[in-house]
Symmetry: C2
Subunit: 328 residues, 2 copies
């Protein structure tokens, strides 16, 4: 099926750059361009040939774009851009403030519906693929328990927190799933676990000149909310090491459901991701979702949608016949 | 959502008994009964209170049943029962002869469509959940490779083959995924692997009185198609051990996709199952799928369907609002 789906990107951060890369892996898609709030000449696209436009240009380009992928931040950008742009385009976004999803959905849905647009909100890997597996696990094994582990992953929020500690010149923090906890869960033991028992925190810190390592370490491991109560390791490294070894935005994790189908019979289902780049993978999910949105809109399925509403065959470039013959 | 979905079971083998168990874990469902080709008094249901009827009774009970779960064998039963019963009921089946799925789909589809029924064919875990992950992996990481590993699992076909070897009184065979191959795949190396390199075969054999162990071992490991070319281990055990330790129909496996989103960035996605009982887990999938079929039929989505056509939220007992608020 060569559908030649015309995709545009709204917002050019990590995710927007990731979408540029992902389009290249999908021969049924064509990138119309990147639209940014910043002046186009300020934007350096990943591929020199990607056209860059001002965001204000978007309303004039509705006929040129089949699906607009919203790559703004969840905190400040999407709450405004999502409802606004769903009036003009079919959209896909990766809104990831979990607690606010119902509110965000309620903002986008009526606008999209009134304009016959399809808006797939809050997709990616979490929310997104992990959400799918949480729901599947529960539906398939109703008598059971679900565990979401994150990592190994670079945590932006925790890295920022480290950088605010006095004496720290630079830092990154990795969240790592605790192997003991994973083993217990995979064994079907349904342990009671807190986020603290499920994850370890590993910090790589560059000290400021003259800073006291032990004082910095203590300030970190006792920091409330962020590190207190966690098994936290602090490694001191040079600025060169930080620049050389810790730039990749690795991430990932596991969703595990363990349950019983009868009193003596345990079943375990596990979904895991090991991501060399969080934004590039998330972008790949958004791009496949854009294909589904294009098709759902053609089928008259308008309004706000989540990954729970998408028949997953629509994500594939293959026709239903091919999927049945080749992959089922 | 308490929908009180009325389920019936056609065929009472391992899977049919599994469905009996699974219904008990789903309070929105009620078991109407088991229908069998054998005389009802020959059937011993898992729960004494499960009503048992003759298969010929089915056409009279169309008003009593929302979804009929077909638990016949894929080789002899479903090719006849599937199209026939899709004229009368919404159905779910686990037809697993992969190569024949298109043919089977083509038999069921027109009948279901003509009678406004929804027939979800070839679901379970493979085909089913594994198929879903093969398609997802390819759609999300188009530049990549997919690997399906099976095991640790009791293989019925290979156990049967062992029992046909001269000198063997009883036997079971476990298929085990090769850890070295899994490690290579998880590392994103995209190795070229054959089924032989991906799996090991472990046999537990009870010898007949006077049989020569070495002769039996040689006959097994050199058996064409089944064992030749595989890393095969043969363990000799007593009849008591066979009866005590090798009755559980354990199974499982992994679908792994590794791919690149850009030349230097590897991403790995993994879906794994560790099943204490293959038929009980498969039955749990069929039961959740029956919920989706019931809802799809109510939405007017008739004809034959596969898991690729099902929005996965429909498998959940939760409403779309709840799914968004609790699990997304
Ligand atoms: N669901 C999931 O699994 C998942 C996974 C990862 C991320 N996410 C979500 O994706 C969102 C976007 O992530 P991101 O890493 O792409 O965020 P980001 O790099 O901070 O980009 C967000 C926006 O900020 C603007 N921006 C980027 N670089 C800028 C710069 N140098 N100067 C000024 N403005 C700049 C861009 O908009 P303009 O071009 O319009 O200025 C861009 O759209 C996150 O908020 C997160 O919610 C979701
Ligand atoms: N998609 C997947 O992931 C997946 C996984 C596992 C299995 N499967 C499929 O499920 C199918 C059914 O598996 P199963 O283990 O339930 O097969 P099974 O035990 O052999 O039962 C198949 C049928 O044989 C009849 N039967 C059962 N026990 C009998 C007995 N003692 N005497 C005479 N007839 C008997 C039953 O029909 P009546 O009651 O009408 O006689 C039953 O419906 C398999 O063929 C396989 O294709 C699919």
């Amino acid at each position: 099926m060569n559908e030649n789906i015309r995709i545009a990107i709204a917002g050019h951060g990590n995710l927007g750059r990731g979408v540029e890369a992902a389009i290249g892996n999908n021969p049924d898609m064509r990138l119309v361009g990147v639209y940014s709030r910043r002046a186009p000449d300020q934007i350096k696209p990943r591929h020199a040939e990607t056209p860059v436009y001002a965001m204000e240009q978007l309303p004039e380009d509705t006929d040129k774009i089949d699906v607009l992928i919203l790559c703004g931040g969840s905190k400040e950008d999407l709450p405004r851009q999502g409802p606004e742009l769903a009036a003009l385009f079919n959209t896909v976004d990766s809104f990831d403030t979990h607690a606010r999803i119902p509110e965000y959905f309620a903002e986008v849905d009526p606008v999209a519906r009134a304009n016959n647009r399809t808006a797939l909100v809050a997709t990616g890997w979490d929310p997104g693929l992990f959400s799918l597996n949480r729901a599947l696990g529960e539906a398939l094994l109703p008598d059971g328990a679900t565990y979401t582990f994150w990592g190994d992953g670079l945590s932006q929020g925790h890295s920022d927190a480290l950088r605010r500690v006095a004496g720290v010149a630079g830092a990154v923090q990795y969240t790592r799933p605790a192997q003991e906890a994973i083993s217990q869960v995979l064994a079907g033991e349904r342990p009671e676990l807190t986020a603290q028992k499920m994850h370890k925190r590993e910090c790589f810190v560059v000290l400021e000149d003259g800073a006291d390592a032990e004082e910095v370490r203590t300030a970190i491991v006792t920091m409330p909310h962020y590190f207190d109560g966690y098994d936290t390791t602090v490694n001191f490294i040079s600025a060169e090491e930080l620049a050389r070894d810790h730039q990749a935005m690795v991430h990932g994790g596991f969703v595990i459901r363990s349950g019983n189908t009868s009193p003596d019979t345990t079943q375990v289902m596990e979904y895991g991701l090991k991501l060399g780049s969080n934004p590039e993978f998330t972008a790949s999910v958004l791009v496949a979702c854009a294909r589904a949105v294009h098709r759902m809109n053609a089928l008259g399925q308008v309004g706000a949608k989540t990954i729970y509403d998408v028949p997953l065959g629509l994500l594939s470039r293959r026709s239903p016949e091919e999927l049945r013959a080749q992959l089922l």
